[in-house]
């Protein structure tokens, strides 16, 4: 029996898929749809840049999580020493951590720039109001990611900045609610190991899942409405 050419196998696979779902049609629909020329303006790229930076964050975050230890017991805590280990010992650890750090900073800038573009071109107006709201929620989640990520190195700066943040969150009226929020974030009477555990969980599981979900909704809206016309 003659061995089929890889190309024949590929065609056979595509044909098989096409018989069950309009596969090639879907690919054509997705890729060859036409886009207005005005969307080539540089400022329409900002949203794409935000997406690219979020992908950088997710990828480098996964790599950092391979070595990071979310444990704040002892002095110095394993959380602190693991970050030191990433920074000084792990092969290219300094680069991965650097890309994560600088991408996070750049991400906030690009989100604000993208938001300014959306505002400037009036892209938040009907029928895109919901997408604007999703975008604002994503901005808040990105800020929350920055806030929770700040504590993870468990150094002096991170500790005291988080203490202030939690103190502010604890001001929420009425007093009982404020205390509840503070306890919820802190996981105890003071900022300590449970706080790090909670911030780590938020930073690594909850908030990234939320942002991926909201990104999906954001893109679905964009796909449904198309690129907005400039004013």
């Amino acid at each position: 029996m003659a061995i089929p050419h890889p190309r024949e196998i590929q065609v056979a696979v595509v044909d098989w898929l096409d018989e069950r779902y309009p596969f090639t049609k879907a690919v054509d629909e997705a890729l060859y749809q036409r886009v207005p020329n005005f969307a080539n303006a540089f400022y329409y790229c900002f949203g794409g840049m935000v997406f690219i930076l979020i992908v950088f964050q997710l990828l480098t975050g996964v790599l950092l999580a391979l070595y990071y230890v979310p444990d704040a017991t002892g002095n110095p805590a394993p959380a602190y020493t693991s970050v030191q280990f990433i920074q000084n010992t792990v092969y290219l650890g300094w680069l991965i951590r650097g890309v994560h750090f600088w991408s996070a900073n750049l991400l906030i800038i690009m989100v604000l720039v993208h938001m300014a573009r959306v505002y400037w071109t009036g892209s938040y107006r009907a029928p895109r109001e919901l997408n604007w709201m999703v975008g604002v929620l994503m901005l808040l989640i990105i800020l929350a990611l920055s806030l929770t990520g700040y504590l993870l190195p468990w150094d002096t700066k991170a500790y005291f900045a988080t203490e202030v943040t939690i103190k502010i969150a604890g001001l929420t009226p009425p007093q009982q609610l404020g205390m509840f929020v503070k306890e919820l974030l802190q996981g105890g009477p003071v900022v300590g190991p449970p706080t790090l555990q909670r911030f780590f969980t938020l930073h690594v599981f909850v908030l990234p899942a939320l942002i991926v979900l909201l990104m999906y909704v954001h893109f679905r809206f964009i796909r449904a409405h198309g690129i907005s016309e400039p004013l």
């Binding site: 050419h5 590929q10 065609v11 595509v14 018989e19 069950r20 779902y21 309009p22 596969f23 049609k25 879907a26 690919v27 629909e29 997705a30 890729l31 060859y32 749809q33 036409r34 886009v35 020329n37 794409g48 690219i52 950088f56 002095n75 110095p76 805590a77 300094w94 650097g98 890309v99 750090f101 600088w102 900073n105 750049l106 300014a116 505002y119 400037w120 938040y124 107006r125 009907a126 109001e129 709201m133 604002v136 929620l137 808040l140 700040y150 150094d155 002096t156 991170a158 500790y159 005291f160 900045a161 202030v164 502010i168 001001l171 893109f219 796909r223 449904a224 198309g226 690129i227 004013l231």
Partner: protein
């Protein structure tokens, strides 16, 4: 497809048989103008790069139906295909950004260095990162509760509801005040002015904080210094 046919037509020439595509129909793809076949890159289902193309297409496929877009009603010369014309800058942007953050990581190590390990007994005045610095400065300007919860809460709420505020309240107020036009931004002078003034205020607070603890400005409650 036979090898002989591939040799004659070249890779990329194969297209799916239309009768096989009829089995399941996608919903609602009503009348999109796609790039004509003769203009596309010759990457058909038999081409070695077709899986890459499918990978790229998976993203918009997952995003659901495209709906009826502005481009569908525009003449051909005012539009271009998504792939490759619209797509190609993004991989380049991704590479450039990766290089940029890589260079920053290599040469601006100062911000990445750790301070001593956290010690609750240490005495230190925390200074947040730049993106929360304006808020940190704002806290100094009034009662904690109002500056940290009430006003930021109102601002976030207004930001979320901005399209409605912009669409309803702005024009009515503008008509009452007899404001006719303001070239930028957008068409709504009230919300536009508030938006820009808000941004300017945030920038002012940010620079005030950045100026450091020795830079103080007079305020109702006495001089307020940077962070």
């Amino acid at each position: 497809m036979s090898d002989k046919k591939i040799e004659n037509d070249g890779p990329g020439a194969a297209v799916a048989a239309p009768k096989e595509v009829q089995i399941v129909e996608l919903d609602g793809h009503g009348g999109h103008t796609l790039e004509p076949e003769w203009k596309r890159l010759p990457i058909g289902p038999d081409h070695i790069l077709y899986p890459v193309l499918v990978g790229l297409a998976l993203f918009p496929i997952l995003m659901g139906d495209a709906g009826h877009h502005l481009a569908d009603d525009m003449p051909d010369e005012d539009t271009h295909p998504f792939f490759p014309d619209h797509f190609w800058p993004y991989p380049i942007i991704a590479v450039v950004m990766l290089i940029a953050v890589g260079v920053l990581s290599a040469f601006v190590q100062k911000n990445l260095q750790l301070e001593p390990a956290a010690d609750p007994r240490a005495v230190t005045i925390p200074r947040p990162d730049w993106y929360f610095l304006f808020l940190f400065q704002f806290l100094k300007l009034g009662p904690e509760l109002i500056m940290s919860q009430v006003i930021p809460g109102i601002v976030v709420g207004a930001l979320i509801l901005f399209p409605f505020i912009d669409g309803i309240a702005g024009p009515r107020m503008a008509r009452r005040l007899g404001w006719k036009s303001w070239p930028v931004p957008g068409r709504n002078i009230i919300t536009g002015t508030v938006f820009v003034l808000g941004l300017l205020y945030v920038a002012f607070l940010e620079f005030w904080a950045l100026a450091g603890p020795n830079f103080c400005l007079p305020y109702f409650t006495g001089p307020v210094c940077g962070a």
